[in-house]
Symmetry: C2
Subunit: 136 residues, 2 copies
């Protein structure tokens, strides 16, 4: 194990322990991670990592998201500083969403996991099938 991995494990120990006794639920690391783990978050980030998109374009890119969740997820991403929202005073108005530097930084880390899932999802699905068949 190299030094970097050891360092990472030490920090993740902190993540697990939370922010202190009695405030585990308020651990800021958990809070940040959970917001990234939202149902539509990684999907929208992967779109915006490619290039900026307008509201309606995102809706077409992710056809099964409801308008409400698109609005809400984008607002949360903006609130956390991952996404920049720019309104163009055209008529009718158009709004463009793009990743901030913070968002790009975060997505670079998230991307490792998405990439893993793309490469190994078949293995996981097989494991599930085997488990379900065995226990019955």
């Amino acid at each position: 194990m190299d030094a970097r991995v050891a360092s990472t494990r030490q920090k993740i120990e902190i993540y697990r322990a939370g922010a202190g006794q009695g405030r585990l639920a308020n651990c800021p690391i958990r809070s940040v991670v959970q917001s990234i783990f939202g149902k539509w978050t990684s999907l929208l980030l992967s779109a915006l990592a490619e290039k900026p998109y307008r509201f309606g374009e995102l809706r077409r890119l992710v056809p099964d998201i409801s308008q409400r969740m698109l609005t809400e997820t984008l607002r949360d991403l903006q609130r956390d500083g991952y996404v920049h929202r720019e309104v163009f005073p055209t008529k009718p108005p158009s709004v463009e969403y793009s990743l901030t530097d913070l968002g790009r930084s975060m997505f670079d880390s998230l991307q490792h996991l998405l990439h893993w899932a793309e490469n190994h999802h078949a293995t996981v699905v097989e494991a599930r099938a085997r488990f379900d068949a065995t226990d019955a």
Copy 2:
């Protein structure tokens, strides 16, 4: 941008598009990612990445998890092939959980994001505060 990043982006395009028209919700990549995104999943994985643990030890490591969710999350992790469950016929019985090779492989990728959150959560919390103050 190097070739590896370009390759990743291309695959994430597939992730976004899902498994095909009309079956977006059944996209296996989404399904695998969502299960990893469970509330307690990353926490338990980070514990088991360190060393195998028994049920009660995990409960003490993550004091605010309910017994029910601990059982359920561990079973899901086992079902997906990330965790191995070994029962020792002692009296009373003891059960040890450990990462499989697949689990270690997956956690290596997840770790990048957890590490990022550990290093940047303060920035995100500040961004939230600024957003909340600005809009009122």
